[in-house]
C-alpha cells in the first residue's frame, strides 16, 4: 500500500464518475453497434424510426417519473393510470361524436379530458402521500389497483374501442410526422427538453433535488416540501396523459391489459439513466436514453435468433441490475 496504490484508486474513481455521466449513452451506442452487427436491417431508417416511436410512451412517462423519484418518491400507478385515461378518452370521444361529430373538436375535447384526468390522478397520488403522510409506495400501489379496476369496469371486462368515424381525424397524432420525424418522437423530445429545463434550470427543480436529498434540510430551508412533492406527482400525471394522447390513436382501444407493467419499465428507464432511486439526484437525458435502451433491447432480440424474444424481460432485467451495480460502486468509492 504505497502512495501510488492510493492515487491509482483515485484515478479509477475519476473514471467511474465519468462513466456515471456518460455510462447510459455509451451503453446505448454499444447496443446500436451490436444491433448493426447482428442485422443490417437494424440501422434502416424504418427500424430506427420504429425504435424511437415505440420509446416515446415509456419515455414520456419516465420523464415524469424522474421528477417523482428525484424528489424521493415513487409512482407505481402510471400504467394503470394510462389505461384508465385511455378508456375515459375513448368513452368521451365516442359519446361526443353524436353531438359534435367526428371532427377535430371531439379529439381536442378528448385530449382535454385526458389532461384533466392525468393532472387530477397525479394530484390525488401527491395529496394522499403528503397530507396523509403515507409512503408513496403504498399510496400508488393502492391507486394502481383503483385505476386498473376502473378501466376494467368501464370496458365491462372487455375492450373499449374508439369509434371508427373519428380514427382518421385522430390518426396523425401517432402515425403522422413533422419534417419527416414521427409525431410521437417530436412530442417525446419536447417533453424531455421541457423536463430538462424544469429539473435542472429552475428553482422548482432545485427544490426537487433538495427534498430527495434530505427532506429535513429542505424543510429548514423554507421549502414547501409537501407542495413540491405533490407537484412532482402532478407532473407525472401530466406526462402519463401526454403519453396516452399519442397512444390511443395507435391501437384505438383500451382494455384491462393496457399499460400493464409500464410503471416498471418507466422506473427502469429512470434508474438505467442514472437517477438515484432513493432520490436527490436525477437526470432527464439519462432517462430518455434509458427508455430508448429498453426498446432497443426488444428490437434487437426481434432481429436475432441467438436469444429468444421471450427472454426480452430477462435481458432488460439484467441491464437494470448492472446499471444499479455500477452506480453503487461509484457511491462506495466516494464515501472513503
Amino acid at each position: 500500500m504505497g502512495n501510488s496504490g492510493r492515487s491509482a484508486g483515485r484515478t479509477a474513481a475519476g473514471r467511474f464518475i465519468d462513466f456515471k455521466a456518460m455510462g447510459p449513452f455509451m451503453a446505448l451506442v454499444a447496443l446500436f453497434v451490436l444491433g448493426a452487427l447482428i442485422n443490417d436491417a437494424f440501422l434502416s431508417s424504418g427500424n430506427l424510426s420504429n425504435i424511437f416511436t415505440r420509446s416515446a410512451f415509456i419515455g414520456i412517462i419516465a420523464v415524469g417519473a424522474t421528477f417523482v423519484i428525484t424528489a424521493g418518491g415513487i409512482d407505481l400507478s402510471v400504467g394503470s393510470m394510462a389505461a384508465f385515461i385511455s378508456g375515459a378518452m375513448i368513452v368521451v370521444m365516442n359519446t361526443l361524436i353524436a353531438t359534435l361529430g367526428a371532427g377535430v373538436e371531439t379529439v381536442l375535447l378528448g385530449i382535454a379530458v385526458s389532461v384533466v384526468l392525468g393532472v387530477a390522478a397525479g394530484a390525488i397520488n401527491g395529496l394522499v402521500t403528503t397530507r396523509g403522510k403515507i409512503e408513496a409506495f403504498i399510496v400508488t400501489l393502492g391507486t394502481m389497483g383503483i385505476y386498473r379496476s376502473l378501466v376494467t369496469y368501464m370496458a365491462d371486462g372487455g375492450t373499449l374501442s374508439l369509434d371508427f368515424a373519428i380514427r382518421d381525424t385522430y390518426r396523425p397524432l401517432y402515425y403522422g410526422d413533422i419534417l419527416g420525424i414521427p409525431v410521437p418522437v417530436v412530442v417525446f423530445f419536447a417533453v424531455a427538453v421541457g423536463g430538462y429545463v424544469l429539473l435542472n434550470m429552475t428553482p422548482f427543480g432545485r427544490k426537487c433535488f433538495a427534498i430527495g436529498s434530505n427532506e429535513q434540510v429542505a424543510r429548514y430551508s423554507a421549502i414547501h416540501v409537501d407542495r413540491i412533492k405533490t407537484l412532482t406527482y402532478v407532473i407525472q400525471g401530466l406526462c402519463v396523459s401526454i403519453a396516452t394522447i399519442i397512444y390511443v390513436p395507435r391501437l384505438g382501444s383500451a382494455s384491462s391489459s393496457t399499460g400493464v407493467l409500464w410503471e416498471l419499465e418507466a422506473i427502469a428507464a429512470v434508474i438505467i439513466g442514472g437517477t438515484m432511486l432513493k432520490g436527490g439526484y436525477g437526470r432527464i437525458w439519462g432517462t430518455v436514453i434509458g427508455a430508448i435502451m429498453l426498446t432497443t433491447i426488444g428490437n434487437i432480440l426481434n432481429l436475432t435468433d441467438v436469444i429468444s424474444n421471450y427472454l426480452n424481460g430477462a435481458v432488460q432485467g439484467l441491464i437494470i441490475i448492472v446499471a444499479v451495480l455500477l452506480q453503487r460502486g461509484d457511491w462506495r468509492r466516494k464515501k472513503n
Binding site: 502512495n3 429552475t202 433538495a210 436527490g280
Partner: protein
C-alpha cells in the same frame, strides 16, 4: 524509541505499553494527511489527542482501529507488529473506536443495538431476556436510566452517545478510542461520562480521547498528544500544561482575541418581541425582547425548551398561544417563509441532519434558502456563482474545489457554509443554535467574530449554546430556561456561570425574571 517526543512523554501511569504506532503516513489522493506520526498508548491511561479540524486526529485513530490501512509505518500491539484488515479485526483484538458520528440503527431498540451482530441466543432463538438484563446492567453502570426497549429514534442525542459507550463496554474493549464523545453531551452527562472513563482507567483500559475542548483534556487526560496539519507536535503530561499552552500548541500561534468586543447599546430599539408563547408540553408562556445589535443568549440544559421556543417563533413548530411583534408591529409567522419575510433566519444546530445537503456541492447548498432571489423561473447560475465567490471570501470557506461534496468538508467549513447559507437571505435577526458544535478553536474564534460583525452591522443575534464560555463571551444578555419556562434574564455583572446554573437547574425561583430584566 528514537522519537524525540517519546523522551518527554514517559507515561504518567505505570501500566503496560499496549498499542504504539511508529512513523504513520497516510494520504488521500494527492493530499497527505499524516506525516510520520507516532503515538503510544499505555494500559490505565487516558491519552488525549488534540488538534484542530483537519489536523489528522480522526484519520490517525481510524488507522489505529483498522478502518484505514496506513501508507507506511508500523503499528505494534502488545509488543508484536500487527496489521488490521478491517475494523472488525481491530475489535477482535479489543480495540474499539466510538465514532464522532454515532453508528446506531434508528429503528432498533437500545438492547438490539448494543448486541447488534453478536446477539445472545438460546438454541436457535434470541435470548431477549438475557440481552435486556445485560443492557440494563451496562446502562445502569453508566448511571443513565434508559429503558433498553426504547427505540433509538426516540432518544435524545446525548442518550444515544451513552448507548454507544455501553455497546463498546459490552464488547470488552480494553483499548477504547473516543472520537469527540462530548460534542453532543450536556455538562451533567459529561461528568457521568468522565466518571465512567475514570472507572475504566482503573480497570486498566487504555483510553485514547480525541477532543478539542481544552477543559475536558485538563479534567480527564493523563497525557496529551498534539497534532497540527498532520504532524506530531508534542506528547506531554497534562499536569504541567495550561490551557493556553495547549491552545498555542494546537493552533501554532496565539489566539489574540477569542471573542469580539461587545458593543451592544442597551437603549437600542426593540426589533423582536415575543409574548406568552407556549408550545404544548415544551414551552410555557415564554416572552422576551430582542434589541437591535445585541447578542441575546439562551442558556439551559438539554430539554429546557430553547430549541422548541425558537422553532415555534419561526413557524417550524406549532404553538398553542403567543404573539410575535417585529419592530413593534404584530406579525403572523406560520412557516419559515413568513419568518424570512419578517427578516428572521434560523441556523440549525444539526448541520448534517437539517442544515446542509451533504451529497451536493457548495453552490446549491448556499442558495437553497434564498433560492427565489436567484430567479423566478430560470435559475441564474452566474448570480449563484458570484454569490458563492462572495461567500467563500466573506466566511473564509476552505474547500479544495467547488465540486467537492459538502459531506466531505470538515465540520468547521460546513458550519461556515451553513452560516453563509443563512446570511444569503440577508436577515435582520439571526437565531443561531449551537454555532460551534464539534469545531476547533481557531475556527470557533472566526465564527465568533463573524457573529460580532453581524451585530456591528446592526443585525440582532439570538444565541443558543451549551458551551458556557461562548455563551458568556458573546452574549450581551442571557435568558435562562428550565423545563420550558424562562427562569432568569441575566444582564451585566449577573452574566456568570454560577448564575446561569442557578437558573438552569431551578434553584432560583421564577419571580427572579422581572427583577433581573
Amino acid at each position: 524509541m528514537k522519537n524525540a517526543a517519546k523522551n518527554a512523554a514517559e507515561p504518567v501511569v505505570s501500566g503496560q505499553l499496549r498499542l504504539s504506532a511508529r512513523q504513520i503516513c497516510k494520504s488521500f489522493g494527492a493530499a497527505q494527511v499524516l506525516f510520520d506520526v507516532p503515538i503510544d498508548l499505555y494500559a490505565g491511561e487516558v491519552h488525549a489527542l488534540l488538534g484542530e479540524n483537519g489536523a489528522g486526529k480522526s484519520t490517525l485513530v481510524k488507522i489505529l482501529s483498522g478502518y484505514h490501512a496506513p501508507d507506511s509505518g508500523e503499528i505494534v500491539l502488545d509488543g508484536s507488529p500487527v496489521s488490521f484488515d478491517s475494523s472488525e479485526d481491530g475489535e477482535a483484538r479489543g480495540i474499539i473506536l466510538i465514532h464522532q458520528e454515532l453508528n446506531l440503527a434508528d429503528q432498533l431498540t437500545v438492547e438490539e443495538n448494543i448486541f447488534l451482530g453478536r446477539e445472545m441466543t438460546r438454541g436457535w432463538f434470541l435470548d431477549k431476556a438475557a440481552m435486556r438484563d445485560e443492557a440494563a446492567r451496562l446502562l445502569a453502570g453508566l448511571q443513565c436510566d434508559i429503558d433498553p426497549c426504547t427505540r433509538i429514534r426516540d432518544l435524545p442525542v446525548s442518550d444515544r452517545q451513552m448507548v454507544e459507550i455501553a455497546k463498546a463496554l459490552s464488547k470488552q474493549a480494553d483499548i477504547l478510542i473516543l472520537d469527540e464523545p462530548t460534542a453532543v453531551l450536556t455538562g451533567r452527562e459529561v461528568d457521568i461520562l468522565f466518571d465512567q472513563i475514570r472507572r475504566l482507567r482503573e480497570r486498566g483500559v487504555a483510553i485514547l480521547y480525541i477532543s478539542h475542548k481544552l477543559d475536558e483534556i485538563k479534567a480527564i487526560a493523563d497525557r496529551v498528544t498534539v497534532l497540527r496539519d498532520g504532524s506530531h507536535i508534542t506528547t506531554q503530561a497534562v499536569a504541567g500544561l495550561e490551557k493556553d499552552d495547549m491552545a498555542r500548541l494546537m493552533v501554532g500561534r496565539d489566539i489574540a482575541q477569542m471573542f469580539p468586543d461587545q458593543i451592544a447599546d442597551p437603549s437600542a430599539p426593540v426589533v423582536l418581541s415575543v409574548r406568552n408563547l407556549s408550545v404544548p408540553g415544551q414551552v410555557y408562556d415564554a416572552g422576551f425582547d430582542l434589541r437591535r445589535g445585541e447578542v441575546l443568549g439562551f442558556a439551559g440544559i438539554v430539554g429546557a425548551g430553547r430549541t422548541a421556543l425558537m422553532e415555534a417563533i419561526i413557524g417550524l413548530r406549532p404553538r398553542s398561544s403567543g404573539a410575535i411583534l417585529r419592530d413593534g408591529q404584530p406579525v403572523v409567522i406560520d412557516n419559515l417563509r413568513d419568518a424570512g419575510r419578517c427578516g428572521i433566519a434560523y441556523l440549525t444546530k444539526d448541520r448534517k441532519g437539517s442544515g446542509l445537503l451533504l451529497n451536493m456541492e457548495m453552490r446549491p447548498n448556499l442558495t437553497l434558502l434564498a433560492l427565489d432571489r436567484f430567479g423566478r423561473f430560470l435559475l441564474n447560475r452566474k448570480a449563484e456563482d458570484a454569490a458563492l465567490e462572495k461567500a467563500i471570501a466573506a466566511f473564509d470557506i476552505r474547500a479544495a474545489d467547488r465540486t467537492t461534496k459538502v459531506g466531505d468538508f470538515s465540520g468547521g467549513n460546513q458550519q461556515k457554509l451553513l452560516l453563509a447559507k443563512v446570511m444569503e437571505c440577508n436577515p435582520d435577526i439571526v437565531i443561531i443554535d449551537e454555532p460551534t458544535r464539534g469545531i476547533d478553536i481557531g475556527t470557533k474564534s472566526q465564527i465568533y467574530h463573524f457573529i460580532g460583525d453581524l451585530t456591528a452591522q446592526g443585525k440582532s443575534v439570538i444565541l443558543l449554546s451549551s458551551e458556557m464560555t461562548e455563551m458568556l463571551g458573546l452574549s450581551d444578555r442571557i435568558i435562562v430556561m428550565a423545563a420550558g419556562r424562562i427562569t432568569g434574564i441575566l444582564d451585566g455583572e449577573d452574566r456568570t456561570e454560577h448564575q446561569i446554573m442557578r437558573h438552569a437547574t431551578g434553584i432560583s425561583d421564577n419571580q427572579g425574571v422581572s427583577v433581573h430584566g
